[in-house]
Structures are given as C-alpha cells and as structure tokens.
C-alpha cells in the first residue's frame, strides 16, 4: 500500500456551475434578460412577479416565467393569468432550483423571442444562494412582515444579490415596519445595492423597478 494525495481543486457544484455557464451563454446570445427571484416562503415573490409580468406586458415587453416549488402548480396558474408563458418546476423535496431543472424546463421555448425571463426560486433563504442558474440578476425579496434583521441573519443570500425588493409596503405601517433599519441592514450586507420599495397591490415602486429592468435589458453584459 502507498498513500497518495490527489489534488482535485474542483468545485463541488462543478456540474451545476458548468450547466449554468452554458445557460448564461444561451441567454446572452438570445438577448434575454434573466432574473432569479429568491426569498423566504410567504414574502410575496409570486404576487410581485404577477404584477411585474402584467406591467411589462402592458408596455409591450415579451416575458416568460419559470416557477419552482416543492409541490403543486398553484403559482404557475396564478402567474399564467398574466397571459405570459409560464412553467412550473416541481422539485419534490429539493429546497432550491438547479441549473439542470431550469435547462429542462426551457425546452421548446424560443429564448430569442423573449425580452425577460423570470425564475422564481423555491422559497428558502439559504440553499438557493449556492446554485447559479445562469441568471444575470439575482433579486432578493424581503417583506415588511418578516423583520428588519433578516439580511443580517441570512448574509449569504443578501450578499450575493444584485438587487433587493421590499414587498408589501402598503402594510408597512400597521406591521410596525422600521424602514430605515431594514434599508441600513441590507446596505450593511450588500453595500450599494439597488433597493426597490414596492407593493404588488398598490403598484408602489413599480415604475422605478420597471425602469431598472429596462436599463439592465439595454445594458449588454
């Protein structure tokens, strides 16, 4: 017997990272802006996305969405009411989306016909941050009912985000939401990040959000 050390220096999620790189190339070649939406369950990702899809379609943009959940196609049915093509990804127990699931569910879609593709991740503030889906923009959402210190409790997710959305701003006051502290905490974890204060119900903050999307769309990666 001889003992040997074999150097690997290999990413554990190499397979996912390679698939994600391939997807990123496909998105860029097709000219579609892809966003990955991550938050806890109940933050209002689906409501925010419903509003975003509807508002973008009203402005003539071509949009589609993939939505991940452990079970049920409830969210896909809600989002499809916007008229946009939507597909549900059921992970059956897996707590995050992986690049392979995304690739499989894009089958048959002509990416070049799209302006924006939204991927709503499984509601989870931990695991989705490790899995690249090839997106250009990772969006972390936080609702006014969740507590202003969530960014401090889940720094990985907020630190890897490119934009942050505060949701349910219409009920901020009755919830006793401390806006200044929430903004400060997000900035403490991800200095300089763009933050949008929104309400899917009233449409507050949507103008700024849509302007940001348009600006990112026109900016070549």
């Amino acid at each position: 017997m001889t003992t040997r050390i074999v150097e690997l220096r290999q990413g554990i999620l190499k397979k996912n990272d390679e698939l994600a790189r391939g997807l990123r190339g496909r998105y860029e070649a097709a000219g579609v802006l892809v966003l990955n939406l991550v938050s806890s369950p109940g933050t209002g990702k689906t409501a925010f996305l419903e509003r975003t899809l509807r508002d973008l379609r009203e402005r003539g943009a071509k949009v589609a969405a993939l939505v991940g959940d452990l079970e049920t196609d409830n969210d896909a049915r809600r989002l499809a009411a916007s008229g946009a093509p939507v597909r549900q990804i059921n992970t059956h127990g897996i707590c995050h989306l992986e690049a392979e699931m995304v690739a499989k569910h894009l089958d048959g879609w002509e990416l070049a016909d799209l302006d924006y593709l939204f991927i709503e991740n499984v509601g989870n503030l931990v695991c989705p941050s490790s899995y690249d889906l090839g997106e250009r923009i990772r969006v972390a959402l936080l609702s006014v009912t969740e507590g202003e210190d969530k960014p401090l409790k889940y720094p990985t997710l907020f630190n890897s985000a490119d934009a942050a959305i505060l949701t349910k701003m219409d009920i901020a006051e009755p919830c006793g939401f401390d806006r200044a502290t929430a903004l400060k905490n997000i900035n403490e974890i991800r200095p300089g990040i763009r933050i949008f204060e929104t309400s899917a119900k009233t449409g507050a903050g949507m103008t700024e959000w849509l302007a940001y999307l348009a600006q990112e769309k026109s900016r070549r990666p």
Binding site: C127, L157, P191
Partner: protein, 120 residues
C-alpha cells in the same frame, strides 16, 4: 438543508477521480468551504456518513477547512478579512466593501488514498 445534495456531488466527483486509481481506498476527503457558502459543517459530516455508505468513499474521513470572507477595500487598496458576516465594512477604515475576493468557495481540495501496489 442542501448538504445532502452537496455530499452526493462530492461522492460523484471522487468516484470519477478514483477511476484513475483502480482498487484504491479513500482515507480522507478535504474540502475548502467559504464562510459565506451557506454550508453547515455538522450537517455535512452527518450526511457524509449516509451518502458514502456502499460507495468507494465508505469509512473515509471528511476534513473541512473554513475560509474566512476576504473583501477588497478600495480606500486601503488591499484585501482584508471582514470581522463579522453582519457588517461588510473594512475593519481598518470602516468603508463599506462590496468586492468579494474569498468566501463563497465550495471546493474539493484533495483526497488521500491508499493505492494497491502493482504486482510485478
């Protein structure tokens, strides 16, 4: 929660590597995990025992090295280790820092194996 998926990926990678060393026994698998990688070592160790059962990695030891978060501070013009994951600021000058240089790693660094000597 995704530690089992991570361990399964480790088993796949190491098994592939072992193809070049027929009959070798895995003694140790060494990982480099960034402090911002959202991976809990206890949970990894727990899943490792389960996921390696019946594989060529069975009975091997998992060694995890946690890497601190290193950011680049523009004002100090150098890479610095942040003091806490709750504040992305330079510990020297207190400037907010957003340029991450280390901390999200999820890597298999190396494996230690016992090779069967070739019969002459």
């Amino acid at each position: 929660m995704h530690e089992l998926s991570i361990v399964s990926s480790i088993v796949d990678s190491v098994t592939t590597t072992l193809e070049a060393y027929p009959g070798a026994q895995v003694k140790e698998v060494r990982l480099r995990i960034g402090a911002l990688a959202s991976v809990v070592e206890d949970s990894l160790q727990f899943c490792y025992g389960i996921a390696t059962d019946g594989t060529p990695l069975e009975g091997s030891k998992l060694v995890v090295r946690i890497l601190p978060v290193v950011m680049h501070c523009e004002r100090c013009a150098q890479d610095i280790e942040i003091a806490s994951l709750q504040s992305f600021r330079c510990p020297r000058c207190d400037e907010p820092v957003s340029d991450l240089r280390q901390g999200r790693e999820l890597e298999i660094e190396s494996i230690e194996i016992d090779e069967v000597e070739e019969k002459v």
